[in-house]
Symmetry: none
Subunit: 222 residues, 4 copies
Amino acid sequence: MRLLNHDSILAGKERSTLYRSTPRTRQNAADRAASIAEAARALLTESGFASATVKSVAARAGCSPGLLYTYFPDRAALLRGAFAHAAGHELAAVTRALEEAETVAEAASGLVSTFISRALAGARLADALLFEALPADVETERLSFRTSYAAAIAARLQAGVDAGEIPEQDTGLTARALSGALSGCLQEPIHDSGRSEFSEAEAAALIADMTVFTHRAIGVSP
Amino acid sequence: MRLLNHDSILAGKERSTLYRSTPRTRQNAADRAASIAEAARALLTESGFASATVKSVAARAGCSPGLLYTYFPDRAALLRGAFAHAAGHELAAVTRALEEAETVAEAASGLVSTFISRALAGARLADALLFEALPADVETERLSFRTSYAAAIAARLQAGVDAGEIPEQDTGLTARALSGALSGCLQEPIHDSGRSEFSEAEAAALIADMTVFTHRAIGVSP
Amino acid sequence: MRLLNHDSILAGKERSTLYRSTPRTRQNAADRAASIAEAARALLTESGFASATVKSVAARAGCSPGLLYTYFPDRAALLRGAFAHAAGHELAAVTRALEEAETVAEAASGLVSTFISRALAGARLADALLFEALPADVETERLSFRTSYAAAIAARLQAGVDAGEIPEQDTGLTARALSGALSGCLQEPIHDSGRSEFSEAEAAALIADMTVFTHRAIGVSP
Amino acid sequence: MRLLNHDSILAGKERSTLYRSTPRTRQNAADRAASIAEAARALLTESGFASATVKSVAARAGCSPGLLYTYFPDRAALLRGAFAHAAGHELAAVTRALEEAETVAEAASGLVSTFISRALAGARLADALLFEALPADVETERLSFRTSYAAAIAARLQAGVDAGEIPEQDTGLTARALSGALSGCLQEPIHDSGRSEFSEAEAAALIADMTVFTHRAIGVSP
DNA sequence: CATGAATGAGGTTTCATTCAT
DNA sequence: AATGAATGAAACCTCATTCAT
């Protein structure tokens, strides 16, 4: 499966440096970059993008604002990096769930339960990833991740179609619709309600209903 | 059916500055407010929210920046008003399509074809309403409209359930998922592709596929 | 006794008018001007100068902002007028007390008790007149009234000197000092404490102490 | 003697922007803050508060407008700081004069001569500190300094009372009245006359007369 | 006389980014 | 490699004043 290379964002800019690039140097640099991205991610998760100013990210990462520009070309790249860092975990979990399933029906179940249960378990992060206002420069990253989700889903659906498990369809379209549907069904509990804790029962009910929706939508025979 | 009262947003602020409220006065005021909201909407549609500064909106509306504050309490309210102005039309069209249909299957078809055909016909506006980054103050309005869409859809679905046309289900959840699915299926053509013109054939194909998706998802028997 | 002509401020600007100036016209005009000044005074008393915008004064006076400029050349004149309107009453009361007294000692007592008791009785107004920040254009009026107070006091003191009741002194200087002292002794109760109600006992104590201060300061033999 | 801590105003805001606080860093920061406050003070003295815009203060201090906000949280704090910077010197001089005197009579003389001679020597500054219109945000600082003057005077008077040098009295009240009297006696020469140069003889005469006033007022036996 | 919508200058404030050290 | 003080462009918003009606 081919994904958009979100990781490239984390690479930041080409670092012109006076120092020869030794393994030690590179390791330190990677550590720094990671600790900065991690600091940004933590701020996002805790209080949203508005609080993630360059200064506050630097403070959180324990370094100066200036140093940050050694690792990221500008603020947008930093925030995209932080977004990708967090969203990448989610995408990986969903991708794993899709790949582990034997049938397309199981894959759909796995997709729904993985997506929803992780979102409810980390509601604050999910809110940031799915619903919060983003700077225009970062919104592109969100849309790019939606595309990646759709691609992962489409690939699995296509395998299902090829295996005759589900009807012929534009699997790309179905996948984009499903990706949107999963997001749409979470707005009320995660964003509107303002809650951040959810019981197992709530999660189970939501997952059950959305699984039915998804199975029907892709044409799994009951 | 009860919708969130988005129109109230257009009312702007309490106009304590108007000393006496004559019909003539009110009409002029309403005209001005509408022309300002329209200018903002045009700017959004053409070049996104970032370009909609108070100054540029005023210039576009042919008045001074200060006058905006007679009709809107602050910039966020102005932009919310512009968003609501545009989004309200779309919501009304969709609501009409839902209400005119006799069966729930027809309602679903109407929903899908109305939503998609209007979006493809006004792709730039649809992009602004559905995908572009919004200031945090305005994003709330987008989410509020999503809720209104879901409410309109849920009401029609529930009627279908009550009439025995579709299976028992949490119609609120199904509606939110569908609302998200419709949005999700448009990202690629409307936002990612960068195109703003679409052929009838393209629209028809998309509508056809999404209608199948929707009918399956809500459980309309084939 | 000659006072600065504070009333001239109330005259506002020369009113060029298309109408012949009949007695009726003049009366109406005077009424309007007075009602506007009164509205401004009321706003000052209730909520200070910051709240006395041209618009709010007009609203309070039941007329349009534009009309206000028929009677006052600009906002500063309006506020000076309102200040003079209120301060003039106080000055008149003090002047009366000074003039009614037979001896300079009684005059001093009358000055102190009139000034303080009126200030405590109308603490909100006194705060505005004595302590609140004023626009630079209006502050001149406050200083001008201080001069008028000093002039009234000086005249009475000079009579006392001439009558041999108190020692030779620069009565102008003594008067200015006393005027400042009266203001100074009220800052704590009227402004700092934030209170607006004072018991008779409090007033009596303050008056008693300040009377002693004043008698000593001007040299009334005990 | 406990004074209100006006110096805290100069501290500006919590400088959370300074990452590590080294002695070198602190000294530089203090220098900058002082140079900005000094620029503001100079502007006030020369042309009043209205001219002390953030931009002009920055220009005078030789830095950018934005930098001011590193040292002061907002414009009002900056102006309060500048006011306190200047007023603090005056208060310190007066306090010193009060403390150096052996008897309460000498203290009163020292108070009067210090206050008046310094005011006449720096008439433009004195005008700004005592009489000029101030923004509401800064006027609070002026009133706070009046309170501090009164406190310093009251403490010395109370010592005089305790030593039996002057009669029993509410020394707090007497002090507030004296503080007001000193201010009141300077309005004519410093503000109304528009002059900024005064001869030794003028100063001596004013001081002599006010010393008599003050001695009488507090009850020093002749 | 009276209205009140319209003007528009100008101030404060934020924060991503740079660069001398 | 690291610092963090300094920059400076923009944006929002207020409100005294005017003028067409």
